[in-house]
Symmetry: D4
Subunit: 234 residues, 8 copies
C-alpha cells in the first residue's frame, strides 16, 4: 500500500501473508530482531483479529517482546532458550519421519533448540542430542544407534568453531544432514564464517547448509525433508 | 598404509572404499580434478579388478582422463557436459520421488547436468528445465505446474550471477530446494560467492545450500531427500 | 581555514556549501551520525543565520540531535522513521516523474522512507509500497500496474537479506531501478554485503546500486533520474 | 524444456526471449563469455531464422566467436575494442538525452566503449572523453563545458585503480553519474574491488554503481535514464 | 623481566624506552586504548620519576584516563579533539619544513588534529585546512596557494568514505602526501577499508599510506619527511 | 541425551568429559564466554560432586562468573589478568622442558598470561618476558641468553598489530615457537587478522600458529611440545 | 651488498646463509618457485663451491629446475611428488621421536610427502598414512594403534576441503598435531582458506597450524617438536 | 577528445601529459601492463615527435613491448629486472639525499630494483642491499652503518611473505621508511596482502606504505622525500 511519509509506521505498513500455511503447507514466521517491538506486537494483534489465520512462529524474539506477543496471543508458547514464541502453543501431532537435532557443544544449544522447536511446530517428531563434538569422538560413536534409527529421516547438526561435526555425521548415516553453523567461537571463527566454510566444503556428500545461527531455517528444511508425502497442490 | 617416500606414488597410496555403496546406500564417487590422470586410471583399474564393487561416479573429469577411465572400464558412460563418467553406464531403475533440476541460464547448464546425472545414477527419476532466470519471470511462472507436480520431491536450482532464483522457487513450492551457486558471472560475482551468499540469505525457508559449482553434491543431496524410505541399517 | 589546535572545535571548522543548491540544483545535506551533536547544532544555527541559504536535509539523525536542530530551525520537519530533518518543512511542489519506493520487508522500511523523504524534498511526487519480497511473489505481481504506471520515472528498491527484489523488478519494468541494499539480516548477510553483491550481479540490466543503507543517496539519485528537464547551467 | 542428459547440448537448451524488445523497450543481449562458441552461434542462427525478432547485442565476445556470429548474421557490426557484436549494424536514430562516456585512463577505454556502443544501439546520442583521471585535474576541468552541456542527460564514468573520478564528476554536474569500476590496476586494487568501493562510498550524491567491468550495464542504465519519455506500457 | 603469574600486573611489566628520543630523534608515544587505565597511569608516574626522560605523547586517550595522566604529569597538555596528552605541554620551537594537514570533512577532524598535534610536538610548523572534500572541488582549488607554498614540505590528508582526496591533492603538488584513511562512513566503507584501498591505489604517485585512523602515525611520518637535515647518528 | 524442549536448559544438557585427563593426559577445560553463567556454575558443581574427576581450567571467564565457580569450588585459583580459574589451585610439580612466554607489548599481556597459567597447570616450568617488540630490537636482543637457555623447550610469543615478533624469535632459536596473534591494534589490524597472517607467512620455519587471542591453546600446545616423554597409552 | 642496476642479477645478489645449520641446528632451505631458474642454479653452484656448507633442501622445485640443481649437485636426491631436492641425498640417521604424517586424501599427498621428506632430512624417523579422511571414519579408527604408538612424538596432518581431520586426530592422541591445510578443493574452499580456518578453530587443543600447502614448514616444525634434546647453544 | 566508436583506438585516444615534468617537477610515467603493445608504442612515438617533452619512464613493461619502445626511442635504457624503460637513458645528476633500497629476499629483487631505477631517474643517489630478511637478523644488523649513514634521507624496503622487515628497520633509523609489500609468498600471503597488512600495522612509526609490488611508487615517493629543497612553484 502507499503510505504518506508522515505516518510511515501506520498499521498498514505490515502486510501479513495469512494464507501462507495453506499455500505452502507450512506456518508463517515473523523474524523479530529486525523489527521494532511495536511492529511485532501489531503483527500479533492482527493475527489474533484474523479469523483462523493458521499457525505462526515468532523467531529471534527477546524476553521483552515475547511478553508483548503473549499479551496479544495469551495462549502462545514461549521457549526462551530457542528465542521462539509459537502459536498455537501445542504443536500438531507428529507426521512423517523423525528429525534428530545434534548440538556439538553446550554453546550451540540455543540454535539447536530453535531448529527443534521449529520442526516440532511444523509437525515432526523430534529428538535432541547434546555435546557430541569431534574433539571427543567416543561421545558421538556412543550414539550411532540413535543416528541410524530407521525412524530418523533428517538430522540437524548445529556446530560452531571448527564446524567439523556435520562432515563426520554425514559419513556415518544415509539420511540428509542439515548443517547450521553457529557464531560460537572467537578470533578467526569470524562469527561463524569458519564453521560455515567447513560445512560447505564437507568431504562427505549429503550436507545441506543454511545460514549462520539460522536454527529456524534448519528446522524448517529438516521438516520439509522428512515430510510424510508429496507437496501440497497449489 | 605406510609408504616409502621413494615410491610415494605406488598404487597402494589409494585406498578405495569399495563397500561404501553397501554402508551408506549410495555409490562411491571419485573427484578427479585434484588427482593426476595416472591416479584416476589406477582407481578405475582397481574397480574393474575388484569383484562386484558397486557402482562408481568419476566427477569433474576432463576429456582426456575420461578416455583413460573408459579404457579401464569400457562399459562406462561419459557425459561430457556434466564432466561425469558413470559405471555401470545404465542407471538403476528409478525409485522414490522425482528430482527436478533447474538451470537459471544456459551457462549454468554444466552444473545442473552434473546434478541431474548424479541423481539419476543414485536411482531417481529426473527432469531438466533451462533458462528460467528471474530477469524474465514469465518463463518461470510458465513452468509452475511442473514445479508443483506431486511427483517432485526435491528441486535442484543452479544459478550464478545474482543467484536469486532459489529464493523465488522456494516461495512457490512446498518441497526442499537444493541451491547450487555457479561460478558464472564476473567482477563482484567473485567466482560464485555472490550467488552463494544470496542463497544462504534466502528470505524464503526451505533452501539447502551446497558449495559453488558442486553439481555432484546437489544431485546427491536431492537424491537422498527424495529417497523412497528410511535409511539403510548399518 | 587554518585553525589553531588549541581550539580545533571552533565554529570556523565547518565550512558550509550554502550555494550548493544553486550550483547543482539540489539541496545541501548534512550527514549527522559522524558528527558531534554540537557540530550538527552549529550547522543548523549557521543555516538560520545565513540569508536565504536554500533548503537542507539532516540525515541519519537521532532523536536527541534532531531536537537540537529543531531548536535552531523551529520550522523544520522531523521524520523519525527516516531519521531525517528537513528544512523547510514543506517540500517543493512536485515536478518531473514519479519516484516509486519499494521496501521488500517491514524491516527495510526505515531506509525506504529515507529515500522517499529525500526524493520528496528534492521535488518529486513519491509513492511507497511495502512487503513485496520475492518469497511471496504474488504480492509483487499484484502491484504490477503501479510499477508500470507511465507516471513512474524511477523505482527505488530497498531490500536486505538475499537482496533479490531489484533483479525481479528490473525484469518487469522499463525504467531505471535504484537498488539500495539494507543491513537487515544476520550471519552471512554480513551487514548488507550479501544484498549488495546480489544487486551488483543482477541478471537484469537497469539496476543502479548505491551504498548499504544509503536511503538518502537512493532517493537523491532517483530524483535526479526523474528530473523534469536538462541539468542546470553552472 | 526437459532435456535428456544424453543430448544436454541440443538446440532446445537455449530459450530465447525474442519479445524482450517489445516487453521492456530495449534489445535482448547475449553474454558470450560464459557460453560455448557453439551455443553463441546457435543463438545467432535462431535470431536469423526468427521473423523480425528485434535487435540484439552480443557482449563480451572474443574475435573468434564474433566471426561465428557474423557468419550467421552477416550484416552485424563488430566493435573489437568494446567486444560487442550488434545486430542490426546500424543503431536506431538517437532519441532522448545525450549519454556522455568518460574513461579515466586509456586502459579503461574498452569498458567505456562497451558502454558507448550499448547506449548508441539503445537509441541514444553518445560522446566519448578519454584520459581525464583525477591525477591531472586540469584535463577534466578543461572539459567542464562538455560535461555541463544541457543536452547531456547521463554521464558514464569508467575508472579503475582508485576509482575516484565519479565522485569528482558528480560534484560538478547535476545529472546522474553511472559509475563503472574497471579491473584496471594491480595489488590492492583486487581486480576492481577498490574502485568499486570508492564509487559506492562517493561523498557526492548522484552516483549509480554497476558491476566491475560491466560496460554493457552502464550503457544500458544510462540509456534508460536518458530515455525520451515514460516507460512503455506492458 | 620475568613475572610471577600471581602478580602479573606488577609495575615491572611495563618497560619504558626512555632513551628513544635520543636514539631515534623523536619522542616516545604510549598507545592508550589497549591498556588499562592503571597501566597508563603507571607509565605517566614512571616518566615523572625518571630524571630527564625526554618528551612523551599519550595517544588515543579518553577523557578519564587523560585526567589520570595529568594527575601524574600536571604540566601536560590535553587535546580532547585529538585524544592526545603531550608532555611537556609546550611543543619545541619549529624546525624544518611546514606540515600542512587537510581534513576532507568535519568528521575527519579528530584524526587530522591528532596528526597535527603529533607533528607540532615533533617540532614542526603546522597548519590545518578543513572541509575540502572532492565533492565540492572549488573548495580545494581555492586553497591551491596554501598547498603549493614553498614552506610546505609534507601534506597530511585525512579522509573517510571514498578517500579520494589524497589522489587529487598529490596530482596538484610536488611534496609527499601522507594519506590517512578514517573510519568515517557506513555500509561498504567497512570502517575505513574503502578509503584505505582508494589511497593505496592512487593514480597519482607520491602518496604515503598509513593505517586507518592513525593520525599519530601520519603526523610522525610527516614530521620525519619535513625534518630539517640528516638523521641523527646512532 | 534427548531433552524435551520445555526444559532444554536442564542439567542433563551438559555432558562432562571427566576422564579426559586420563585419556589424553591433560586436564579438561571449560570455555566460559559462550556459556551462560548458570551453565558454567553447573559444570563447577558437577565437578565438585564427581569423585576425583581430575583437574579443570575455566578459561575466558569474567569476574562475576569466576565468583560463581569459586563458590562451587572454593579452593580454585582465579587469575583475573589471564581470565582463568584453575582447580585445584596448586599446579602440579613441573616436569619436562621450560615454556618461555613472550608478550610483545603490555597490551598483549592478558593473552600471554593465559598461556603461562595454562602451561603451568599442565605441569611445566614457565617464565614470562614482556615488552620485547621489534620496534626496539635491543630489548629482545638483551634477552637472547634467556631465549636460548637449554632448559627452554618451547617459546610462546603473543603479539598484536604487525605480529612480527615470532618471525624474529624463530630466526634466533632452535626450539619451536608457538605464535598467538592478539586482537591488539586498530584499523587494518582487523581484530588480529593482520598479526595472524604475518605469523602464518613467517619467513623463518618453526612457527606454530594458533587462533587469535587463544592463549589457552598456545599454552596447551607448548606444554605438549615440552612434555617429558612419549604420549600416554590409551 | 650494493649492486649497480645495470647488473642487478649478478651472482652477488644472493647472500647464502651457509652457517645456518650450525646456528639453528637445521639445514638451510631454498624456496624455489619465487626465484628464476638461473638464481636457483647459482645457489646450487655456490653450495658446491663452498667447503662443507652443511645440508640444504630445495623446495617447491619443478622438474626443469630440479635438473639444473642436480647438474650442479649431482649427488642430490630429487623427490618429484614432494617437489624437493635434498643434498646430500642420504638423510642423517634418525634421532628423537617419530614423525607420523597423515594425508586426508590422495590429493593431499604432495604436501604430506613434502613434510615427510623434510622431517626425514632433518633427522627424524617418519611414517606416512594416506586416505584417512573424516568422511569414512573407520579408516582412521583402524589406525589408532599407529597414531598412539609411544614412539610417535609429533603428527603432521595434511588436509584440504573441510580440513576437519586435525580436530579429530588431536582429540585421539596426546602428542602435538601439526596441521597443514592444502589448497585441494574448489568454490568456497578459497584455495585452502576454508581448511585453514577450520584448523585455527579446532575444538580440540594441541593443533599447531602452518600456512596453506606449507609441507616444508610442517615437516620442519614436527622435526623440531620431536627433536632429541635441548636446543643448540648459539 | 570525443572519438567515434568506429575508430576508438585512433591515436587521439591517448592524451599525453607532456608538461607534467614541469608542473610537478617529476617525469611522466606510462604504466604498460594495462595497455596494448600498440598503445604503448604510440605513446613512445608521440614522445619522440614532441619537441623537448621531458623525461619519461615506461613501467611494468615486458620484453616484447620494451623492444617496441626502443624502436621508437632508440636511446632509451631498458632494465629487464626492474621491467622499466627509461628515456633518456642517462639519469640526471644526483641531487638531494640518498635513497637506500632494501630487498628482504632475492625474490623481492625485481620490485626493489624498480624502486631504485625510478629514484635514480628522478635524480637521487641510490644504493641497493639484498637478502636482509628478519629470519636471519645478523644480516641486517651487519648493515646498520649503511642504514644510519647521514647521507641517507629515505629507505625503501621491499618485502613479501610476513612483510616484517619495515617494522624492524623503522625501529633502527630516524628517516622515513617506504614499505612496499611484494606478492612473493603463497597460501595465506594472498598475493601480498599479508605483507601489506603487516606494514600498515607496523608497531614502529615512520613507515609509509604503498601498493603491493608498486616499486615505481615506492621509488617516486622516496625521491620526493629526499628531494633537495622545497616544492616547485606551480
Amino acid at each position: 500500500m502507499s503510505t504518506d511519509p508522515a505516518d510511515g509506521t501506520a498499521p498498514e505498513d505490515i502486510r501479513l501473508d495469512l494464507q501462507r500455511s495453506t499455500r505452502r503447507g507450512y506456518p508463517e514466521a515473523v523474524l523479530c530482531d529486525a523489527k521494532t517491538p511495536d511492529q511485532v506486537a501489531r503483527v500479533a494483534r492482527t493475527w489474533r483479529e484474523s479469523g483462523d489465520p493458521g499457525p505462526v512462529l515468532f523467531t529471534r524474539i527477546g524476553e521483552g517482546v515475547a511478553a508483548l506477543v503473549q499479551h496479544e496471543l495469551p495462549d502462545a508458547h514461549h521457549d526462551p532458550l530457542a528465542r521462539v514464541v509459537a502459536w498455537p502453543a501445542e504443536p500438531p501431532a507428529p507426521q512423517g519421519g523423525r528429525v534428530l537435532v545434534l548440538a556439538a557443544g553446550t554453546s550451540d544449544l540455543p540454535v539447536a533448540q530453535e531448529a527443534l522447536v521449529t520442526a516440532r511446530h511444523l509437525g515432526r517428531d523430534t529428538r535432541l542430542v547434546v555435546d557430541v563434538g569431534v574433539a571427543g569422538l567416543h561421545r558421538l560413536l556412543d550414539r550411532l544407534e540413535e543416528l541410524r534409527d530407521p525412524a530418523v529421516r533428517a538430522i540437524v547438526v548445529a556446530a560452531g568453531m571448527d564446524g567439523a561435526l556435520p562432515s563426520v555425521v554425514a559419513g556415518l548415516v544415509g539420511v540428509p544432514v542439515v548443517a547450521v553453523p553457529t557464531s560460537v567461537g572467537y578470533g578467526a571463527s569470524f562469527g561463524g564464517v569458519a564453521a560455515l566454510l567447513t560445512m560447505l566444503n564437507s568431504c562427505a556428500p549429503g550436507v545441506a547448509v543454511v545460514n549462520i545461527d539460522n536454527g529456524y531455517g534448519a528446522g524448517h528444511l529438516a521438516a520439509q525433508i522428512s515430510a510424510p508425502g508429496s507437496q501440497p497442490a497449489s
